[in-house]
């Protein structure tokens, strides 16, 4: 795992008062120009990333007519658009379903990923490498590869389509991405802690619960966050299993039908869009560190 903190830059060491003269002045001017160039590019790039949010927000408070006009600044601030969105039939149910899907999905995933990741990271056994290769392979696999037979089982044998359970139940049996991410994190826990726990007479289960889980809290929160967002953002899953039953739709899935139902109201659609994004962005501001750590762990040499 990388040991570098993710803070870039930092002020360069101030040069002492000794170097004056034209050469030093030239160097200083060059540094200043460099500083200006870098920041100009960075600000231009940042605009590309931020402006869509700004336009979406501004449109979300426009009147119905103005939202169709392509104008940028709202004539009047219609905060009531948000109330209208909330009172749209079904919208609150979609919130409830999204929270249930994301909440239970996260709980199931974390509970099943911890023991598996622990075994893959810390136990020595034959077939360990094969198991790891299989985990990574399933992680890389498009969900469309196995969805048809799975759908047929859930719909025709278990009669659970029209709900989110066909998506939730598999999460209690290990999710490859979460197992992989947590395993990368557990590799960084020194073996000595586990050995000394064993010397003190802890069994594997106690070692896992009392030593490993508390030490792996950052890794576990990264897994939990990623799974929460995965469920919150998921469109394909709810489309397969919940489509027939609007009472089971999630926000991500319902948003598109919301647009279709309000085909001319871009202002309401943008308000709804922001309401779907809001939880993700709020959670991110509270848990930035766990996030960045998680992304880094999956991408950087373990």
């Amino acid at each position: 795992m990388t040991t570098t903190t993710l803070r870039a830059g930092g002020a360069p060491a101030r040069t002492g008062s000794a170097d004056r003269g034209p050469a030093a002045a030239r160097a200083r001017r060059k540094r200043l120009l460099h500083w200006i160039a870098v920041h100009a590019v960075a600000i231009a790039a940042a605009l590309f990333f931020v402006l869509p949010f700004v336009f979406v927000f501004l449109t979300s408070v426009m009147s119905d007519d103005q939202a169709m006009s392509g104008e940028l600044w709202p004539h009047e601030w219609n905060w009531s658009n948000y109330a209208t969105v909330f009172s749209t039939p079904g919208f609150l149910d979609w919130w409830k379903n999204s929270l249930m899907y994301a909440g239970l999905g996260t709980l199931f995933t974390v509970c099943s990923a911890i023991p598996v990741a622990y075994a893959l990271a810390k136990f020595r056994f034959r077939g360990r490498r094969t198991a790891m290769v299989l985990v990574i392979s399933t992680m890389m696999l498009p969900p469309q590869v196995v969805v048809i037979p799975m759908y047929l089982v859930w719909a025709q044998q278990l009669h659970l389509s029209g709900s989110l359970w066909p998506l939730l139940i598999p999460m209690a049996f290990g999710d490859a991405y979460s197992i992989f991410l947590l395993r990368q994190f557990l590799l960084t826990i020194p073996q000595e802690y586990l050995e000394s726990a064993k010397v003190d007479g802890c069994g594997e289960v106690r070692t896992l619960l009392r030593i490993v889980v508390p030490m792996a809290k950052p890794g576990i929160s990264a897994v939990a966050l990623f799974q929460f967002f995965y469920c919150w953002n998921d469109y394909f899953g709810p489309q397969i299993y919940a489509a027939q039953n609007p009472a089971a739709w999630t926000l991500s899935y319902g948003l598109e039908s919301f647009k279709s139902a309000h085909s001319v109201n871009w202002n309401l659609t943008m308000a709804a869009t922001l309401l779907v994004m809001a939880p993700v962005i709020i959670v991110f501001f509270f848990a930035q560190k766990a996030f960045v750590e998680g992304v880094t762990l999956t991408g950087v040499k373990g």
């Binding site: 903190t5 870039a8 939202a67 075994a119 048809i148 037979p149 049996f173 919150w232 991500s252 948003l255």
Partner: protein, 330 residues
């Protein structure tokens, strides 16, 4: 773990025989313990991956409309998909186009933004957050927002372009621009790659830059001979995971096509995906459309297997090239 504590082997007495059953018991216990810890995944893997994969192969040789009993048709589904299905060509072409263009631009752009953030001296946190936030936006929400922003008639972007005198494209409504619009949307969500590249860039040993400077290396030479060799594995990782992700590209293409077409359709309604002119139809969309709208289970399973083979090939490459996924100690 050494079984023999003392350097000289004990003579063949009863001692090792007495030890053996205890040792075997210990091994059995360890094996059971490992199995116990792995059991959630072992069950999940066989039930939710192994079974459906075999069933997909089975259905690919069957005619099955999900109402009548499946009947064996040999290779007919395979022949149909590869030689007769009119949408297979466009879908495969679009997916490959996206794989090449989107992955290449994402890696270049992500690396660029990563480099930029490491060069920025003030407001690093602010810039980093700005670049990262769009990655978090739910794909459906981001797509809905982009369809609005790039809407040729009512969108603010074309308003801005016209104001400065640039001819405004039709974006999601123009078959030539629809895929580039999707690429633009995906570049907006580059945050994950930026973080990965930033971590890699900050890991490049500082001394190497100093050494290169002493040798009179300019900015490009430093990038080419110091930065690049040290980040190649991460670039490789980004390329391969990008290819796999783009093979599954679904939600954004589907939602953009549906919304831009302007047809007042609720989810679940049968439409020809890929508006305009099949330009945004991808292989995963075709799987959905065949399996869940046309109930042509056999052909859908053939397409699933095509996806599977390509994804496996890419994954194998990923693990061969040791792009950081499997640590050396494995």
């Amino acid at each position: 773990m050494s079984l023999v504590e003392s350097p000289e082997r004990p003579a063949a007495t009863a001692a090792p025989l007495r030890k053996a059953p205890a040792l075997r018991r210990k091994h059995t216990r360890q094996r059971l313990r490992t199995l116990g810890f792995l059991s959630p995944w072992l069950v999940g893997f066989s039930v939710f991956f192994g079974y459906p994969l075999i069933a997909t192969v089975y259905f690919s040789f069957m005619h099955y409309n999900q109402i009548q009993q499946p009947s064996f048709v040999g290779l007919r589904n395979w022949k149909y998909v590869f030689t007769q299905m009119p949408l297979f060509g466009p879908a495969l072409w679009n997916t490959l186009w996206l794989v090449v263009v989107m992955v290449a631009l994402r890696v270049i752009f992500g690396l660029g933004i990563g480099l930029l953030v490491t060069k920025v001296k003030s407001g690093v946190g602010l810039f980093r957050t700005a670049f990262y936030l769009p990655y978090l936006a739910p794909p459906v929400a981001a797509t809905v927002a982009f369809v609005f922003l790039l809407n040729p008639g009512t969108g603010p972007v074309n308003g801005l372009l016209e104001a400065v005198g640039i001819p405004a494209p039709g974006w999601f409504n123009d078959a030539a621009w629809a895929k580039p619009s999707l690429v633009l949307l995906s570049l907006w969500g580059i945050g994950d790659l930026m973080v990965i590249f930033m971590a890699a860039l900050l890991d490049v040993p500082k001394e190497q830059y100093e050494a290169a400077e002493l040798d009179g290396a300019g900015a490009w030479a430093k990038f080419r001979y110091v930065t690049w060799p040290s980040i190649t594995p991460i670039v490789m990782f980004a390329v391969v995971t990008g290819v796999v992700q783009t093979m599954q590209y679904y939600t954004q293409a589907l939602v953009a096509g549906k919304l831009a077409s302007g047809v007042n359709i609720g989810p679940g309604s049968v439409i020809q995906p890929g508006y305009p002119e099949h330009s945004t139809l991808t292989v995963p969309q075709l799987v959905y459309s065949l399996g869940f709208q046309n109930f042509n289970t056999g052909a859908a399973c053939v397409l699933s297997l095509v996806l599977f083979v390509i994804a496996m090939a890419v994954t194998t490459l990923l693990m061969r090239k040791r792009a950081g996924l499997l640590p050396a100690e494995d």
